[in-house]
């Protein structure tokens, strides 16, 4: 990093505040701007977009200025738009990292971390519980009403969001939650990490009321911040010639996980050395181990599921 104000944050919400706090704790000066005054950050090297979706239009504006972007959007269409900006990012010598939050984001880091325990991996299944701020809660609400995408034996499958109930165990104190398919960019980004994967699914915890009211406007304003949150990443593959499963989870506020991951990703981008273009966490083009180590040093605790095979 070359200056004290190389990193800017767009958005005063939970995720943006946590990212700024993480950077300040590490001794970096951060400028935070609202969405309306985002142009004040045109002199930054890297900006974290932490406002509600869509973020792709503002990301294009920053990229046009040659500014690298860390996007926390977990909106499927938004992330697909960001991925499409590959040529523009390359031509402007800017780095764009898409889907830098909890799921996607931390999930990609964990897949990258777990794959080293295998000879080869062929399945990744993720599940997330909880929301960050109000915009995240709205995204959670809308994601249960659309179409989910999943990678199945080399084909993209579209299934109704809110279907495919599965009981997923998260680290304590969250425990077991019913999780469902949802409109998430997670499978798309995980497939970019490991194109040889055969099956990728992502689910989110939801209640009956969540699913029943998903196609309606939100019945009441969302909470300022979701309380407990959790992430679970299950990787299947081959180790020592046999089928093997590894499961890693995190129990923390989703806004904290997303903010910490965004902050350490922005630091990695600002340090330089990343090839211009669009990336996502977990891809070998990023210093994933450094980012994960930074997140753990900032207080995120990883848990491994130790199971008995039956």
């Amino acid at each position: 990093m070359t200056g004290s104000a190389d990193i800017g944050v767009v958005g005063h919400g939970i995720t943006g505040s946590r990212a700024a706090l993480t950077l300040q704790t590490l001794g970096h000066s951060v400028r935070v701007a609202s969405l309306r005054s985002a142009t004040e950050l045109f002199d930054c090297h890297t900006v974290i977009l932490a406002h509600g979706a869509p973020q792709s239009a503002l990301a294009s504006t920053f990229v046009a200025q040659g500014i690298s972007v860390v996007s926390t959007s977990d909106n499927l269409e938004d992330v697909l738009s960001l991925i499409d900006a590959q040529e523009r990012a390359e031509s402007r010598r800017a780095v764009v990292v898409a889907g830098v939050a909890c799921s996607p984001g931390m999930s990609g880091l964990l897949v990258n971390h777990l794959r080293r325990a295998f000879e080869s991996i062929d399945e990744v299944h993720t599940a997330v519980h909880g929301t960050a701020g109000p915009m995240c809660a709205r995204q959670h609400h809308e994601s249960l009403a659309g179409l989910s995408v999943g990678w199945h034996d080399g084909e993209w499958l579209q299934r109704p969001a809110g279907s495919g109930r599965e009981l997923c165990w998260f680290p304590d104190p969250v425990g077991a939650r019913d999780c469902y398919r949802f409109a998430s960019p997670e499978p798309v980004l995980l497939q970019r990490i490991e194109p040889a994967l055969e099956r990728i699914t992502s689910r989110i915890s939801a209640t009956r009321r969540d699913r029943l009211t998903a196609r309606l406007p939100m019945l009441r304003p969302p909470h300022a911040e979701g309380l407990e949150g959790a992430l679970r990443v299950e990787v299947r593959g081959v180790r020592n010639g046999r089928r093997h499963v590894e499961i890693v989870g995190i129990a923390d506020r989703v806004g904290t996980i997303a903010g910490v991951v965004a902050a350490h990703t922005a630091l990695a981008v600002a340090r330089g050395g990343i090839v211009p273009g669009v990336h996502n966490l977990g891809q070998p083009s990023l210093p994933n181990a450094d980012i994960l180590d930074g997140a753990v040093d900032s207080g995120v605790t990883l848990h491994q599921f130790v199971g008995l095979e039956q």
Binding site: H113, R236, D293, L302, H303, V306, G307, L308
Partner: protein, 43 residues
């Protein structure tokens, strides 16, 4: 009487199919019991 025999036949066939499916599905081994332990990522 014929109805009862048909019901018993249907239940028997369903039981056999379920048994076959259960036996075949034992190929995939996934953790069913256990717990979470804290880990530190190692390079």
């Amino acid at each position: 009487m014929k109805f009862i025999r048909q019901v018993l036949l249907a239940v028997s066939i369903a039981g056999m199919v379920a048994g076959v499916l259960r036996r075949r599905s034992k190929g995939v081994v996934a953790p069913q019991q256990g717990g979470w332990r804290e880990v530190t990522p190692q390079r």
